[in-house]
């Protein structure tokens, strides 16, 4: 295969190649620019920003804005910094991601390997949740959270994200398992493995790439969600995104842009980290099954 792909690659001269790299470099810089400005300004004292020069490097390097954003900045009415909300987001995102991934995997397993009458219709209905806008479910969801008495709490948010994520995770796992040879399941049945044994011992160990996809997708969506966080969590149980908004939109005192920049980077850091660590699995998982390797 390696030989074949080398043969089919477009041959280019040194000069064209240099141009290609130059352009790619320029685009990369262009996309990195906003992040660079955020980073630079989060390391300046406020006076340098209000002085008018946002692009310049700090004359006086400081990490005070970061410390302030993390532990002392005014969020709403309390001077707690973003830390408690960062923890809120972690406590919300991790269980929601794990639960929706596990249930999605089970759904995909059942929908492909234990098909029953009407299983395709159920899959079709599950897919609807991928296309329904968030806003439509706000009111019914509020009612359910109220009935369960978990409105305005982190467990409530976990439930919301878990339920909303099942559609996507089911789609991923169903498509991945559709390409998984059914003969393996039959062989395991003859070997005497039960429903869950087949799932744990045969299916899951071969599901690495799609678990990564599901994990990244769910984590990014849940971590970055603002609407559900703002609607179903209040005060101390708000997630990071809502807290960041409260930090930036605070109407009292001076606008501490450097602290806002630091807070924004903190809010984006976990998803960036997930992409950097698991990004290659993401592409690999999305490609899996589409091309016969």
């Amino acid at each position: 295969m390696a030989v074949a792909s080398a043969d089919t690659a477009i041959r280019t001269s040194r000069i064209t190649r240099a141009f290609i790299y130059l352009f790619l470099l320029l685009f990369a810089l262009f996309y990195l620019l906003p992040f660079g400005i955020m980073l630079v300004n989060s390391l300046k004292p406020l006076s340098e920003i209000t002085g008018g020069n946002m692009i310049a490097l700090p004359q006086d390097w400081t990490i005070a804005p970061w410390l302030s954003a993390w532990s002392t900045a005014q969020i709403g009415v309390e001077p707690t910094g973003l830390r408690p909300y960062f923890i809120n987001s972690l406590v919300m995102a991790i269980p929601a991601v794990v639960l929706s991934t596990v249930v999605g995997a089970l759904n995909g397993y059942v929908l492909t390997k234990w098909q029953f009458r009407g299983s395709t219709i159920i899959f079709g209905l599950l897919l609807f949740s991928c296309f329904i806008p968030f806003q439509i479910v706000l009111i019914p969801m509020a009612r359910i959270l109220g009935l369960l008495d978990i409105a305005g709490t982190t467990p409530g948010l976990i439930l919301v994200h878990f339920v909303y994520g099942i559609g996507f995770t089911t789609l991923y796992f169903r498509n991945y398992y559709a390409a998984f040879p059914t003969e393996l399941v039959r062989a395991a049945q003859i070997d005497g493995a039960g429903f869950f044994q087949i799932f744990w011992r045969i299916m899951l160990p071969s599901s690495g790439p799609i678990i990564a996809v599901s994990f990244i997708w769910q984590f990014t969506n849940i971590w970055n969600d603002f609407l559900f966080g703002a609607s179903f969590a209040s005060g101390g149980s708000a997630p990071m995104t809502v807290a960041l908004n409260n930090l930036v939109n605070s109407s009292t005192g001076v606008r501490e842009y450097n602290v806002h920049f630091a807070g924004a980077i903190m809010a984006a850091a976990p998803t960036l980290l997930v992409y950097i660590v698991a990004g290659r699995y993401f592409v690999r998982g999305l490609m899996a099954g589409s091309v016969k390797g």
Binding site: P181, E183, L184, R186, A187, A188, Q189, I190, D191, G192, A193, Q197, R201, I202, P205, S206
Partner: protein, 371 residues
């Protein structure tokens, strides 16, 4: 009462019946091959024996125990799949012992069983590898090992050789046959390859269109096919089927065939069962295997009735061991199988010798053999 009884079994999907009243008794130690073209229902039948598909009506019994509705793992069967279905995340050793583990066999016992099987199949050096690191033939062995280790009552093979290249297929065929002779196990084997069916089986069930067309030993199937389908499906090149007229001459029945030049010649029928009488002066189909048409020197010395037949040769195909000669008989292409060094030239007349002992007659309407 056989070891494995397939008793009037049918299979329907909705209103469509795909298997019609299949009735086969398999004795202990038998090697039954289900053969037929794709879509004939052979794999469905195998899956029903395995318990992977339900039985619509009828009964399947193993050792007199009714298997309808019994879970595959509780039937004491083992199956080798076409794709081998080795668990990709486990080593060869784990693949082999997975079934034992699921049945709660203690670890020490599993290890012993695994060693015995690995030794038998000569895969001891592969036990720590993953299936992805094995060649096709090695995977095939592991798949057989996984089946053997359970020591099941019945082995089920679902086209196990069709993913191998031609040479390896022949090697593995011999391996399977050796294994059967050595262990004396009961095997049900599905294939679409009639050579595999002939070489491996003690009995063959030829299937077509959801019916068992004929059930018999390889020799019965080959020499006395029940109908035209069995006759043409089994054997390569296929049996020659010629439209002829049955006439009586000097008190004996003859088949009237025409040569390439249109001249008619009567070939005496060796042995005419009473049923032939009804077809006197009627059109029938004459079936002759290619190896029953030879040059006069190459004819079977034990044959009682060799009929000479001079005809124009159209094509010759030297195949190394044999030379296949095509000619036109009664308006049909007819293949003869000659010795490799027979002196035949295309476009010339040649004296063929037809061994009429081996000829069979079919009713042109029902396509059944007349007997």
């Amino acid at each position: 009462m056989g070891f494995l009884d397939i008793d009037n079994v049918t299979k329907s999907y909705g209103a469509v019946e795909v298997l019609h009243k299949v009735d086969i008794d398999v004795e202990e130690g038998e090697f039954l091959v289900l053969v037929g073209p794709s879509g004939c229902g052979k794999s469905t039948l195998l899956n029903m024996i395995a318990g992977l598909e339900g039985i619509t009506s009828g009964e399947i019994r193993i050792k007199d125990r009714v298997m309808n509705g019994v879970h595959p793992s509780k039937r004491n069967i083992a199956m080798v799949f076409q794709s081998y279905a080795l668990y990709p995340n486990m080593t060869v050793g784990q693949n082999i012992t997975f079934g034992l583990e699921m049945h709660g066999t203690p670890k020490a016992e599993r290890e012993t069983a695994m060693k015995t099987v690995a030794q038998l199949l000569q895969i001891e050096h592969l036990l720590d590898r993953k299936p992805g690191q094995l060649s096709g033939g090695q995977r095939q062995r592991v798949a057989m090992g996984r089946a053997l280790v359970r020591n099941p009552d019945v082995f089920l093979f679902d086209e196990p050789l069709s993913n191998l290249d031609a040479k390896l297929r022949v090697d593995m065929r011999i391996e399977i046959k050796k294994l059967h002779q050595r262990l004396g196990t009961t095997i049900v084997y599905v294939t679409h390859d009639q050579i595999e069916a002939m070489t491996l089986s003690t009995r063959i069930a030829v299937m077509y269109d959801g019916y068992v067309q004929q059930l018999g030993t390889p020799k019965e199937i080959y020499d006395s096919p029940a109908n035209l389908f069995v006759a043409t499906f089994m054997g390569s090149p296929a049996m020659n089927v010629l439209p002829v007229r049955l006439i009586e001459r000097d008190g004996e029945l003859h088949a009237l065939v025409s040569a390439a030049d249109g001249q008619e010649r009567a070939l005496r029928i060796t042995h005419a069962p009473p049923a032939y009488a009804a077809y006197k002066d009627a059109d029938v189909l004459l079936g002759i295997r290619p190896e029953a048409i030879t040059d006069p020197e190459g004819a079977d010395r034990n044959a009682r009735n060799i009929q000479p037949f001079r005809n124009r040769v159209t094509v010759i195909e030297p195949a190394g061991a044999d030379t296949f000669v095509t000619m036109t008989m009664s308006g049909k292409d007819c293949i003869a199988r000659m010795r490799a060094d027979a002196d035949v030239k295309p476009g010339h007349d040649f004296d063929f010798a037809i061994n009429m002992d081996k000829a069979v007659l079919f009713d042109p309407k029902t396509e059944s053999r007349i007997a």
